[in-house]
């Protein structure tokens, strides 16, 4: 399945957002997620299934003004 991960095409066999985060090594990381423009809480990732062409954002803390 091909999705858009952080704005770039990405092929994955993860069936849900939690599996995708784990596959990327983010299982214990300080990250937050969104699917198709809407926030997905960490607790909701296992129940958030992924589909072809989904747009996933995975973000982390960064410098800001």
């Amino acid at each position: 399945m091909q999705i858009l991960l952080n704005g770039e095409r990405f092929v994955t066999d993860a069936s849900n957002l939690d599996e995708l985060c784990a596959a990327l090594g983010f299982a214990e990381a300080k990250v937050a997620t969104a699917l198709n423009g809407s926030f997905v809480a960490a607790s909701a990732r296992p129940a958030t299934t992924l589909a072809e062409a989904d747009e996933v954002e995975i973000v982390a803390p960064r410098q800001g003004g």
């Binding site: 952080n6 090594g25 983010f26 300080k30 995975i58 973000v59 803390p61 410098q63 800001g64 003004g65």
Partner: protein
């Protein structure tokens, strides 16, 4: 003391964490500034580089309250989702809400700002909106649930200081009991002092310290200027006048002759 969203602070300087030459300079500048609140953002995390994980460790070491922003968002929808991600990521319901209208001026989209502020306030956020000096937008933001307003001084990163002093004075006079924080456009400690002399409650800045020749020394300069400006406001400034008025007593001036006074 200065109260913001129910919390007391001693420092009236809120400091951004971006654009420093190194993490060590950032850490020393924050310490020198005395800031108790630092702004942060969130950005896409690469599985390979994992930049955010190291930055989070640095922020935790600073031991300051973090104020996440929604910088770069151009719509209310983007800003709302970003604020929701920030709340989970940083463990705070405080959000510096930015909805940007234009990339050249980085001026706030006041319509999107009010829309996002209403949604986020209803979801339990403490919304600190990056706004302009516009009075009607300020009223709408307060009606939307904001308890603090953060008008710009001039465009972000421009270092031009208080571009519209008359309007900023009006805003202060119009909202005497609402915490008002000057956010963006401050270039020099004198700009910050001037805002504080006007009665603004605090100043939020980043570039003027981060990009200074010596950020640590500039952080000290801003801390002193903001304290000086606040003291001046509390003390009450004298009214400016057009003609001179002697400060030294006139009575008893040697060689004084009465006909000189006519």
């Amino acid at each position: 003391m200065f109260e913001l969203c129910g919390t007391q602070f001693t420092s009236r300087l809120l400091l951004g964490t971006a654009q420093y030459a190194s993490p060590d300079v950032l850490r020393r500048a924050v310490e020198a500034s005395g800031a108790e609140i630092v702004t942060v953002s969130l950005r896409r995390e690469s599985a390979r580089v994992r930049t955010g994980q190291g930055f989070w460790a640095l922020i935790e070491q600073l031991g300051r309250r973090v104020l996440p922003n929604t910088a770069g968002c151009h719509t209310a929808k983007e800003a709302i989702a970003t604020a929701q991600m920030a709340r989970e990521l940083f463990g705070t319901n405080w959000i510096k809400l930015e909805v940007i209208a234009n990339d050249d001026t980085l001026q706030p989209d006041l319509f999107g700002l009010v829309e996002a502020a209403a949604v986020l306030s209803a979801e339990g956020f403490e919304v600190l909106p990056y706004t302009t000096e516009d009075l009607s937008a300020a009223e709408r933001l307060i009606a939307a649930g904001c308890t603090v307003l953060m008008p710009w001084a001039s465009p972000i990163g421009s270092a031009r200081g208080l571009a519209n002093k008359t309007a900023l004075r009006s805003l202060r006079a119009y909202f005497p009991d609402t915490p008002l924080i000057i956010d963006a456009g401050i270039g020099a400690p004198s700009h910050a002092a001037e805002a504080m002399e006007m009665g603004y409650d605090a100043v939020l800045l980043n570039t003027a310290i981060a990009k200074a020749g010596d950020p640590v020394k500039m952080a000290q300069g801003f801390a002193k200027a903001i304290e000086a400006g606040r003291l001046a406001f509390e003390a009450g400034l004298v009214e400016p006048r057009d003609m001179a008025s002697p400060s030294t007593p006139v009575a008893g001036t040697p060689f004084f002759k009465i006909d000189h006074a006519s």
